[in-house]
Protein backbone atom coordinates (compact mmCIF):
# COMPACT_ATOMS: atom_id res chain seq x y z
CA UNK A 1 0.00 0.00 0.00
CA UNK A 2 0.86 3.67 -0.16
CA UNK A 3 2.30 4.10 3.32
CA UNK A 4 4.17 0.85 2.77
CA UNK A 5 6.17 2.61 0.06
CA UNK A 6 6.28 6.16 1.43
CA UNK A 7 8.06 5.25 4.64
CA UNK A 8 10.92 3.21 3.15
CA UNK A 9 11.23 5.90 0.47
CA UNK A 10 11.57 8.64 3.08
CA UNK A 11 14.08 6.54 5.00
CA UNK A 12 16.16 6.06 1.86
CA UNK A 13 16.00 9.77 1.01
CA UNK A 14 17.10 10.68 4.55
CA UNK A 15 20.00 8.23 4.43
CA UNK A 16 21.17 9.47 1.03
CA UNK A 17 20.95 13.10 2.18
CA UNK A 18 22.83 12.27 5.40
CA UNK A 19 25.58 10.51 3.46
CA UNK A 20 25.82 13.43 1.04
CA UNK A 21 26.24 15.88 3.92
CA UNK A 22 28.67 13.58 5.71
CA UNK A 23 26.43 13.34 8.78
CA UNK A 24 27.12 10.49 11.23
CA UNK A 25 23.85 8.65 10.44
CA UNK A 26 24.62 5.64 12.65
CA UNK A 27 25.45 7.76 15.70
CA UNK A 28 22.37 9.89 15.16
CA UNK A 29 20.12 6.83 14.93
CA UNK A 30 21.51 5.34 18.14
CA UNK A 31 21.17 8.67 19.94
CA UNK A 32 17.55 8.98 18.84
CA UNK A 33 16.69 5.38 19.66
CA UNK A 34 17.99 6.00 23.19
CA UNK A 35 15.38 8.75 23.53
CA UNK A 36 12.80 6.20 22.38
CA UNK A 37 13.47 4.08 25.48
CA UNK A 38 12.55 7.04 27.65
CA UNK A 39 9.29 7.50 25.78
CA UNK A 40 8.30 3.86 26.27
CA UNK A 41 9.16 3.99 29.99
CA UNK A 42 7.11 7.15 30.48
CA UNK A 43 4.10 5.71 28.67
CA UNK A 44 3.91 2.33 30.43
CA UNK A 45 2.38 3.32 33.82
CA UNK A 46 -0.25 5.47 32.09
CA UNK A 47 -1.15 2.65 29.75
CA UNK A 48 -1.39 0.26 32.69
CA UNK A 49 -3.91 2.53 34.43
CA UNK A 50 -6.07 2.84 31.31
CA UNK A 51 -5.91 -0.81 30.24
CA UNK A 52 -6.73 -2.05 33.75
CA UNK A 53 -9.85 0.13 33.66
CA UNK A 54 -10.82 -1.17 30.21
CA UNK A 55 -10.28 -4.78 31.20
CA UNK A 56 -12.36 -4.30 34.36
CA UNK A 57 -15.20 -2.79 32.34
CA UNK A 58 -15.13 -5.72 29.96
CA UNK A 59 -14.90 -8.46 32.57
CA UNK A 60 -17.50 -6.94 34.90
CA UNK A 61 -20.06 -6.82 32.11
CA UNK A 62 -20.44 -3.05 32.53
CA UNK A 63 -19.34 -2.55 28.92
CA UNK A 64 -22.08 -4.86 27.59
CA UNK A 65 -24.66 -3.18 29.82
CA UNK A 66 -23.70 0.25 28.50
CA UNK A 67 -23.83 -1.01 24.92
CA UNK A 68 -27.33 -2.36 25.49
CA UNK A 69 -28.42 0.98 26.88
CA UNK A 70 -26.81 2.92 24.04
CA UNK A 71 -28.17 0.86 21.14
CA UNK A 72 -31.55 2.68 20.92
CA UNK A 73 -29.77 6.05 20.97
CA UNK A 74 -27.63 4.94 18.05
CA UNK A 75 -30.66 3.75 16.10
CA UNK A 76 -32.08 7.22 16.63
CA UNK A 77 -28.90 8.72 15.13
CA UNK A 78 -29.36 6.56 12.04
CA UNK A 79 -26.77 3.95 12.99
CA UNK A 80 -27.46 0.22 13.17
CA UNK A 81 -27.53 -0.98 16.79
CA UNK A 82 -24.97 -3.63 15.90
CA UNK A 83 -22.22 -1.02 15.72
CA UNK A 84 -23.08 0.53 19.11
CA UNK A 85 -20.51 -1.58 21.01
CA UNK A 86 -17.86 -0.57 18.49
CA UNK A 87 -18.62 3.14 18.85
CA UNK A 88 -18.45 2.89 22.66
CA UNK A 89 -15.32 0.77 22.71
CA UNK A 90 -13.42 2.69 20.05
CA UNK A 91 -12.24 5.62 22.22
CA UNK A 92 -11.04 3.27 24.96
CA UNK A 93 -9.25 0.36 23.38
CA UNK A 94 -7.74 0.07 19.91
CA UNK A 95 -7.07 -3.67 20.04
CA UNK A 96 -10.48 -4.56 21.48
CA UNK A 97 -12.32 -2.47 18.89
CA UNK A 98 -10.23 -3.95 16.07
CA UNK A 99 -11.20 -7.43 17.26
CA UNK A 100 -14.83 -6.30 17.32
CA UNK A 101 -14.63 -5.02 13.72
CA UNK A 102 -13.25 -8.40 12.69
CA UNK A 103 -16.17 -10.10 14.38
CA UNK A 104 -18.74 -7.78 12.79
CA UNK A 105 -17.23 -8.29 9.31
CA UNK A 106 -17.32 -12.06 9.75
CA UNK A 107 -20.90 -12.05 11.03
CA UNK A 108 -22.61 -9.54 8.72
CA UNK A 109 -20.20 -9.53 5.76
CA UNK A 110 -17.63 -6.89 4.86
CA UNK A 111 -19.89 -5.35 2.19
CA UNK A 112 -23.09 -5.23 4.28
CA UNK A 113 -24.25 -1.91 5.72
CA UNK A 114 -23.04 -2.90 9.19
CA UNK A 115 -19.69 -4.02 7.75
CA UNK A 116 -19.19 -0.82 5.77
CA UNK A 117 -20.12 1.45 8.67
CA UNK A 118 -17.97 -0.52 11.12
CA UNK A 119 -14.98 -0.32 8.76
CA UNK A 120 -15.46 3.40 8.24
CA UNK A 121 -15.84 4.13 11.96
CA UNK A 122 -12.71 2.12 12.72
CA UNK A 123 -10.71 3.68 9.91
CA UNK A 124 -11.68 7.27 10.63
CA UNK A 125 -11.26 7.47 14.39
CA UNK A 126 -8.61 7.27 17.05
CA UNK A 127 -8.31 5.68 20.50
CA UNK A 128 -9.13 8.98 22.21
CA UNK A 129 -8.63 8.13 25.90
CA UNK A 130 -5.43 6.29 25.16
CA UNK A 131 -4.06 9.16 23.04
CA UNK A 132 -4.86 11.72 25.72
CA UNK A 133 -3.36 9.48 28.42
CA UNK A 134 -0.14 8.95 26.52
CA UNK A 135 0.33 12.59 25.56
CA UNK A 136 -0.40 13.77 29.10
CA UNK A 137 2.26 11.38 30.39
CA UNK A 138 4.81 13.84 28.97
CA UNK A 139 3.81 16.47 31.52
CA UNK A 140 3.25 16.07 35.23
CA UNK A 141 -0.21 17.50 35.13
CA UNK A 142 -3.61 15.93 34.59
CA UNK A 143 -5.61 18.94 33.43
CA UNK A 144 -7.01 18.19 29.98
CA UNK A 145 -9.64 20.96 30.05
CA UNK A 146 -12.12 20.68 27.22
CA UNK A 147 -9.89 18.41 25.10
CA UNK A 148 -11.67 15.12 25.83
CA UNK A 149 -15.30 16.28 25.34
CA UNK A 150 -14.38 18.15 22.13
CA UNK A 151 -12.58 15.08 20.75
CA UNK A 152 -15.49 12.79 21.66
CA UNK A 153 -18.03 15.09 20.00
CA UNK A 154 -15.83 15.32 16.91
CA UNK A 155 -15.61 11.53 16.75
CA UNK A 156 -19.38 11.26 17.22
CA UNK A 157 -19.92 13.65 14.30
CA UNK A 158 -17.70 11.45 12.12
CA UNK A 159 -19.60 8.35 13.26
CA UNK A 160 -23.04 9.80 12.50
CA UNK A 161 -21.75 10.88 9.09
CA UNK A 162 -20.53 7.33 8.43
CA UNK A 163 -24.10 6.11 9.07
CA UNK A 164 -25.46 8.73 6.68
CA UNK A 165 -22.93 7.94 3.93
CA UNK A 166 -24.01 4.26 3.85
CA UNK A 167 -27.79 4.45 3.68
Amino acid sequence: MLSGLIVPGCMLAALVAAAYRRLPAYDLFVEGAREGIGVAVRVLPNLAAMLVAVELMRASGLMDALCGLAAPAFEWLGLPGEVAPLVLLRPMSGSASLALVEKLLARYGADSRVGLIASTVMGSSETIFYTVCVYMSAVDRRATGYAVPCSLLGALAGTVLAGALFR
Binding site: S60, G145, V148
Partner: protein, 195 residues
Protein backbone atom coordinates in the same frame (compact mmCIF):
# COMPACT_ATOMS: atom_id res chain seq x y z
CA UNK B 1 -9.20 16.49 36.01
CA UNK B 2 -11.15 14.82 33.26
CA UNK B 3 -8.80 11.86 33.26
CA UNK B 4 -9.09 11.45 37.02
CA UNK B 5 -12.88 11.28 36.95
CA UNK B 6 -12.96 9.15 33.84
CA UNK B 7 -10.62 6.62 35.36
CA UNK B 8 -12.43 6.65 38.68
CA UNK B 9 -15.75 6.13 36.91
CA UNK B 10 -14.47 3.31 34.76
CA UNK B 11 -12.74 1.33 37.51
CA UNK B 12 -15.12 2.16 40.36
CA UNK B 13 -18.20 1.64 38.19
CA UNK B 14 -16.90 -1.74 36.99
CA UNK B 15 -16.13 -2.95 40.49
CA UNK B 16 -19.55 -1.94 41.79
CA UNK B 17 -21.29 -3.47 38.79
CA UNK B 18 -19.29 -6.69 39.15
CA UNK B 19 -20.24 -6.88 42.83
CA UNK B 20 -23.92 -6.42 41.94
CA UNK B 21 -23.74 -9.15 39.27
CA UNK B 22 -21.76 -11.54 41.49
CA UNK B 23 -18.70 -11.34 39.27
CA UNK B 24 -16.43 -10.01 42.03
CA UNK B 25 -14.28 -13.14 41.90
CA UNK B 26 -13.06 -12.40 38.38
CA UNK B 27 -12.02 -8.82 38.99
CA UNK B 28 -8.50 -9.37 40.28
CA UNK B 29 -7.61 -11.59 37.33
CA UNK B 30 -9.09 -9.04 34.95
CA UNK B 31 -7.13 -6.16 36.49
CA UNK B 32 -3.90 -8.14 36.25
CA UNK B 33 -4.69 -9.00 32.67
CA UNK B 34 -5.12 -5.30 31.97
CA UNK B 35 -1.70 -4.44 33.31
CA UNK B 36 -0.21 -7.40 31.44
CA UNK B 37 -1.78 -5.95 28.29
CA UNK B 38 -0.05 -2.66 29.08
CA UNK B 39 3.32 -4.40 29.19
CA UNK B 40 2.86 -6.23 25.90
CA UNK B 41 1.48 -3.09 24.24
CA UNK B 42 4.45 -1.09 25.51
CA UNK B 43 6.80 -3.65 23.99
CA UNK B 44 5.05 -3.35 20.62
CA UNK B 45 4.89 0.42 20.81
CA UNK B 46 8.43 0.62 22.19
CA UNK B 47 9.81 -1.19 19.15
CA UNK B 48 8.25 1.54 17.03
CA UNK B 49 9.54 4.30 19.31
CA UNK B 50 13.12 3.01 19.09
CA UNK B 51 12.96 2.73 15.31
CA UNK B 52 11.23 6.01 14.60
CA UNK B 53 13.06 8.09 17.22
CA UNK B 54 16.32 6.89 15.71
CA UNK B 55 15.20 7.70 12.22
CA UNK B 56 13.69 11.05 13.24
CA UNK B 57 17.00 12.05 14.83
CA UNK B 58 18.58 11.75 11.37
CA UNK B 59 15.74 13.78 9.85
CA UNK B 60 16.21 16.42 12.53
CA UNK B 61 19.93 16.69 11.76
CA UNK B 62 18.95 17.23 8.12
CA UNK B 63 16.70 20.16 9.03
CA UNK B 64 13.36 18.52 8.21
CA UNK B 65 11.49 20.04 11.22
CA UNK B 66 12.49 23.60 10.21
CA UNK B 67 11.28 23.08 6.65
CA UNK B 68 8.02 21.51 7.82
CA UNK B 69 7.42 24.31 10.31
CA UNK B 70 7.76 26.94 7.56
CA UNK B 71 5.33 24.96 5.42
CA UNK B 72 2.67 24.54 8.12
CA UNK B 73 3.07 27.95 9.78
CA UNK B 74 -0.25 29.39 8.48
CA UNK B 75 -2.25 26.41 9.74
CA UNK B 76 -0.47 26.56 13.07
CA UNK B 77 -1.14 30.27 13.45
CA UNK B 78 -4.86 29.56 13.10
CA UNK B 79 -5.13 26.47 15.31
CA UNK B 80 -2.47 26.99 17.94
CA UNK B 81 -1.62 30.70 18.00
CA UNK B 82 -0.12 30.65 21.49
CA UNK B 83 2.92 28.48 20.78
CA UNK B 84 5.93 30.81 20.77
CA UNK B 85 8.90 28.50 21.00
CA UNK B 86 10.39 27.43 17.70
CA UNK B 87 11.27 23.98 18.93
CA UNK B 88 7.76 23.39 20.24
CA UNK B 89 6.26 24.50 16.93
CA UNK B 90 8.57 22.17 15.04
CA UNK B 91 7.65 19.25 17.26
CA UNK B 92 3.95 19.99 16.69
CA UNK B 93 4.44 20.05 12.92
CA UNK B 94 6.40 16.78 12.93
CA UNK B 95 3.74 15.21 15.14
CA UNK B 96 0.84 16.22 12.90
CA UNK B 97 2.49 15.18 9.65
CA UNK B 98 3.57 11.78 11.00
CA UNK B 99 -0.01 11.29 12.13
CA UNK B 100 -1.38 12.00 8.68
CA UNK B 101 0.92 9.38 7.22
CA UNK B 102 -0.62 6.89 9.65
CA UNK B 103 2.65 6.56 11.60
CA UNK B 104 1.22 6.74 15.12
CA UNK B 105 4.39 5.30 16.60
CA UNK B 106 6.49 8.03 15.03
CA UNK B 107 3.99 10.76 15.91
CA UNK B 108 3.73 9.92 19.62
CA UNK B 109 7.30 10.77 20.71
CA UNK B 110 7.10 14.04 18.77
CA UNK B 111 3.75 14.88 20.34
CA UNK B 112 5.08 14.16 23.82
CA UNK B 113 8.11 16.34 23.11
CA UNK B 114 5.76 19.13 21.97
CA UNK B 115 3.67 18.77 25.15
CA UNK B 116 6.80 18.92 27.30
CA UNK B 117 8.10 22.05 25.58
CA UNK B 118 4.69 23.74 25.76
CA UNK B 119 4.43 22.90 29.46
CA UNK B 120 7.76 24.70 29.96
CA UNK B 121 6.38 27.74 28.16
CA UNK B 122 3.24 27.61 30.28
CA UNK B 123 5.01 29.01 33.32
CA UNK B 124 5.58 32.29 31.50
CA UNK B 125 2.46 32.22 29.30
CA UNK B 126 -0.42 30.31 30.94
CA UNK B 127 -2.60 30.76 27.87
CA UNK B 128 -0.63 28.09 26.06
CA UNK B 129 -2.75 25.55 27.95
CA UNK B 130 -5.36 26.08 25.21
CA UNK B 131 -2.82 25.17 22.55
CA UNK B 132 -2.00 22.01 24.48
CA UNK B 133 -5.70 21.09 24.47
CA UNK B 134 -5.80 21.73 20.72
CA UNK B 135 -2.83 19.40 20.16
CA UNK B 136 -4.69 16.72 22.15
CA UNK B 137 -7.85 17.25 20.07
CA UNK B 138 -5.99 17.12 16.75
CA UNK B 139 -4.28 13.90 17.75
CA UNK B 140 -7.34 12.29 19.33
CA UNK B 141 -9.40 12.88 16.16
CA UNK B 142 -6.41 12.22 13.93
CA UNK B 143 -6.57 12.74 10.20
CA UNK B 144 -5.36 9.52 8.69
CA UNK B 145 -5.02 9.39 4.92
CA UNK B 146 -5.37 5.64 4.41
CA UNK B 147 -6.75 3.19 7.01
CA UNK B 148 -4.36 0.35 6.19
CA UNK B 149 -5.30 -1.95 9.08
CA UNK B 150 -9.01 -1.85 8.30
CA UNK B 151 -8.37 -2.49 4.61
CA UNK B 152 -6.36 -5.58 5.49
CA UNK B 153 -9.23 -6.80 7.72
CA UNK B 154 -11.76 -6.25 4.91
CA UNK B 155 -9.68 -8.18 2.40
CA UNK B 156 -9.30 -10.99 4.94
CA UNK B 157 -13.10 -11.02 5.44
CA UNK B 158 -13.59 -11.59 1.70
CA UNK B 159 -14.83 -8.14 0.71
CA UNK B 160 -15.60 -7.70 -2.99
CA UNK B 161 -14.64 -4.04 -2.77
CA UNK B 162 -12.31 -3.49 0.19
CA UNK B 163 -11.44 0.04 -0.91
CA UNK B 164 -15.08 1.18 -0.76
CA UNK B 165 -14.45 2.67 2.68
CA UNK B 166 -11.32 4.69 1.83
CA UNK B 167 -13.07 7.85 0.66
CA UNK B 168 -15.86 7.70 3.30
CA UNK B 169 -13.21 7.18 6.02
CA UNK B 170 -11.27 10.18 4.77
CA UNK B 171 -14.42 12.33 4.77
CA UNK B 172 -15.44 11.15 8.25
CA UNK B 173 -12.02 11.64 9.79
CA UNK B 174 -11.74 15.12 8.23
CA UNK B 175 -15.18 16.03 9.59
CA UNK B 176 -14.39 14.65 13.05
CA UNK B 177 -11.17 16.66 13.21
CA UNK B 178 -12.90 19.78 11.90
CA UNK B 179 -15.75 19.48 14.43
CA UNK B 180 -13.34 18.75 17.29
CA UNK B 181 -11.05 21.65 16.38
CA UNK B 182 -13.97 24.07 15.87
CA UNK B 183 -15.42 23.13 19.27
CA UNK B 184 -11.98 23.55 20.79
CA UNK B 185 -11.68 27.03 19.31
CA UNK B 186 -15.13 27.94 20.64
CA UNK B 187 -14.22 26.73 24.14
CA UNK B 188 -10.97 28.64 23.95
CA UNK B 189 -12.73 31.86 23.00
CA UNK B 190 -15.32 31.44 25.74
CA UNK B 191 -12.78 30.73 28.47
CA UNK B 192 -10.64 33.66 27.37
CA UNK B 193 -13.60 35.99 27.58
CA UNK B 194 -14.42 34.81 31.10
CA UNK B 195 -10.80 34.97 32.21
Amino acid sequence: MALQWLWLGMTGGSLVYAALCGRGQQMLAAALEGSANAISLTLTLGAGYLLFCGWLRILRALGAPEALERLLRPALRLLMPGVRGKEARQAVCMNLSMNMLGLGNAATPQGMEAMRLMEEERRKAPRIAHDMYMLLILNATSIQLIPTTVLALRVAAGSADAGAVVLPSLICTAVSTAVGAALGMLCRRREMRHA
